[in-house]
Symmetry: C2
Subunit: 283 residues, 2 copies
């Protein structure tokens, strides 16, 4: 945290799981807010999180939850709009709402229709996560050196966008700003497609070949361990873009198949070379 990092009185985290818990840990360890309020449906779990020191206040009361300058929805994507609707009657003017959901267009446009003047919602998506679940796996550095995409609408107050950007920078993220639709088109390729590709590979694995699956198979399918209900929500919320990506992917897969069927070593080697170049560029 640099000297110029903003400090707030209170931040509410809605949904204290892996992402919400990690965000709470980051906010506390970096001194970004004086108090972190954890809000959810299960008071017992929230009290457990409070007892580990992850949050300062555990509450299932929407009025208590809404009494913060910042409210960050870290629930599954299909629970974000219902969560906003629950807290909204208690939000004071100047409250900023954001989220950590993996899809943005539907959420941002729905939020815009229900949020009154004075309160602001700006979408966020920190590109950090894990196939693990639960605040027990929370890491204060989960967002450090990772990209966080924020998706203001064209008419969102630029000053509030700057404050949101500063918030994510304070937890260590590199912030990219784009339209919700741009986010969803991009993430369909880099997150939703890989998830479906990995899940299809894992779903296909036959019992008799399980003993022959080694580290390569395990790495390629790691993200298929993610929670089915979470990923069902994510990909169905971005179905058109995800389907477009699957179709483009099938075309590339067919190029590999065709080269293999023709025993066209040159074509195959070029495809593998393109794959390697793209992959190596990520490291």
């Amino acid at each position: 945290m640099t000297d110029s990092s903003p400090t707030w009185n209170s931040v509410t985290i809605v949904g204290v799981g892996l992402i919400g818990g990690s965000l709470a840990a980051a906010v506390k360890s970096r001194g970004i807010a004086q108090s972190v309020v954890g809000y959810g449906r299960n008071l017992e779990r929230l009290n457990d999180a409070k007892n580990t020191g992850l949050i300062d206040v555990a509450t299932v009361d929407p009025e208590t939850a809404a009494d913060s300058e910042w409210i960050i929805f870290c629930t599954p994507v299909d629970k974000i709009i219902p969560g906003i609707e629950t807290l909204l009657p208690f939000c004071k003017p100047d409250t900023i709402l954001t989220d950590a959901g993996s899809v943005k267009a539907t959420i941002c446009h729905q939020a815009a229709t229900i949020i009154p003047d004075g309160v602001t919602f700006i979408g966020s998506h920190p590109l950090a996560g894990s196939e693990k679940n639960g605040f027990e796996h929370a890491e204060a550095d989960l967002f450090a050196e990772r990209v966080c995409v924020i998706t203001p609408l064209p008419d969102t107050d630029r000053e509030l966008v700057s404050r949101l950007k500063a918030f994510w920078e304070a937890v260590g993220s590199n912030v990219l700003t784009m339209l919700p639709e741009e986010h969803d088109a991009g993430l369909a390729e880099t997150s939703h497609l890989p998830h479906i590709v990995a899940a299809a590979l894992a779903a296909k694995l036959s019992d008799e070949n399980r003993d022959l699956a080694s580290t390569g198979f395990a790495d390629t399918t790691r993200i298929a361990s993610g929670l089915p209900e979470l990923w069902t929500s994510i990909v169905t919320s971005n179905a058109d873009e995800a389907i477009r990506q699957i179709d483009e992917y099938r075309d590339v897969l067919n190029q590999f198949r065709d080269a293999l069927a023709k025993q066209d070593h040159d074509a195959l080697q070029q495809l593998f070379q393109r794959a390697k170049a793209n992959r190596d560029a990520l490291d």
Copy 2:
């Protein structure tokens, strides 16, 4: 290494790269052979490996290389039969040849036609590796706790099969014995298909979305960093099985696509659930 592990005078490693170098390190660190001979085409590289202590003898002379009880071909799959042909004139009776290639049927049957009585070739495939290359990344424990498949033909001397099994167990592997064709059918699903699936995903990645690729994309495509020429050899040597796997995979991918297009949350969640169950069973 247990007290009952066999000890040999000399083992020749043909091709001292990541796999060959790791095998040399395992043989030396576990005291399996008194001397490890490294054979290849590039004497300078072999001398580098010798200078690091990985091998005892560096040679480009086939006669020197053939003067061991064990000769293990750790070259790319398309170089294994040519390598055997080069060393064979110098092999003494009772020499056992094996390999570490990722495909088995073509190699084992070709070897059977060229190898004279007295000398024996039995295929091996240690399911261990890395997207890294070169003996500099060799690890003595690369094979420990990993499966090694050995693929004797039905008429291979059972005593020699036992000795090969004991060799791989001495470097720490869990040995599975199957026919070469069974190996190739199984590995097509657990290794060759994942490689093509990961490579297609990496090859498809558009430049404008690169910044949005996070750990999930990176894990799913990690194996796409493998050497293009190696993987071209592997998959073209097992093309029929690989194509069968690609076609089965496309069918599963289409099930995800269809469920998504119909917004059939139940069907999609069941597919993700099957994927997760299969993947979790590997850990």
